[in-house]
Symmetry: C2
Subunit: 212 residues, 2 copies
DNA sequence: ACCTGAACACCGTTCAAGT
DNA sequence: ACCTGAACACCGTTCAAGT
């Protein structure tokens, strides 16, 4: 029997997390401030601190909530293909919330709700003949690659939205063909060349390069 | 003959950049604020805006300066080995300034001063038999992996310095062995397993996986 | 041309007080 | 127990004025 006393809560963690996800979805991760979030749940910024320790804990909650909600695809049995498929599913999941990379990378591992991906990758690697230690290495290499790819793409999009010539464009426009013979031949096509999605190609290379 | 008039400058771009690098070296990238930097050069925050457009341009200048100062290693002739060596040199260079990842990734390419690395990698890839388009893909995959690895390691170090149990530690302590059979067997060794430097292993895998 | 001080519009977070 | 308002200690940047 619950006999807790005191003022009944006006807002819940659930409400806060839901509102936070909505804010990010609508106005991007930069818009998620404690004050904005408070306004969103009809309260004050300081009330939030009664439900989450600080902003970092909030982001962690957010991530768990988000990750747990994503459906898990059926994976092929063959270990190689299973690793690639699990990596791509992980990539898709995190692509949906690029802000998560900044939280996740701190521990080079995902939140509870997202541990399914590393579990699958490590398990498949062991089935492919690696030791558990090697399998962990493989997972981490794949994760670093995934985090780098998503981080890069998120930053590129942000830059594109801001408009105006990027630093790279300025640099590439006056590239010295003597010093950079290869880069100068692709300078004008760089935008197109780098717009292609090469994630799968990279994952396959890593998997093929690391499995016996 | 220079006949420019007006008040003579008290501070120069050079001075600003040098001071900024010193601040970062001494107190980390988080300590680099316009106000702190101004104090360091004996001026006001607002005076800085007469020499750099905004903080982003300052960071770009910083990066160029830093990258240009790094000595370039001699690379082996054999294309595969050259790619690996160039990637590792790039990794070393950027490791020295993890803050650079955030600037660089926006354009998935480096500053002028650092263009040497992609040039070498792309060139070696072409010598290994790839088309220029494929070579650019390889470079980008390597770069994403490199950025992810450095970003992850920088974040891990930051976290370690802060002390206290990480989120991962808490999660791993109560990991369900039924749901995560693989991860739970390595949970207690995770710290050690992930402390190992696997960058070279990853780069070799990518190179071997992508070259014919 | 270059520098300054005051001010703007923000942050995350703490603290003492209210209900 | 939960919420509030005021305040602290910051940010990057703009603007009008000085030399």
């Amino acid at each position: 029997m619950s006999t807790r006393t005191g003022r009944p809560p006006k807002i819940s963690r659930r409400e806060i997390v839901t509102a936070a996800l909505r804010v990010i979805e609508e106005d991007g991760t930069g818009a998620l401030t404690m004050r904005r979030l408070a306004r969103e749940v009809g309260s004050t910024a300081m009330a939030l601190y009664h439900h989450v320790r600080d902003k970092e804990e909030l982001l962690l909650l957010l991530l768990d909530d988000y990750a747990a909600a994503i459906p898990r695809p059926a994976l092929p049995d063959e270990p190689r293909e299973r690793m690639v498929a699990a990596a791509m599913a992980m990539h898709d999941a995190v692509s949906g919330c690029p802000w998560a990379v900044d939280i996740l990378k701190a521990d080079d591992l995902m939140s509870v709700g997202a541990l399914w991906y590393p579990e699958q990758i490590v398990d498949a690697a062991v089935h492919a003949g690696l030791t558990i230690e090697e399998a962990v290495d493989v997972y981490r290499i794949i994760w670093h690659y995934t985090a780098g790819e998503i981080g890069g793409r998120a930053a590129a999009r942000r830059r594109r939205e801001e408009g105006g010539p990027t630093y790279r464009e300025r640099v590439f426009a006056e590239l010295d063909a003597e010093e950079f013979p290869r880069l100068s031949t692709v300078a004008r096509r760089w935008e197109d060349l780098t717009a292609r999605d090469t994630y799968a190609k990279g994952v396959r290379a890593i998997v093929n390069g690391l499995l016996p």
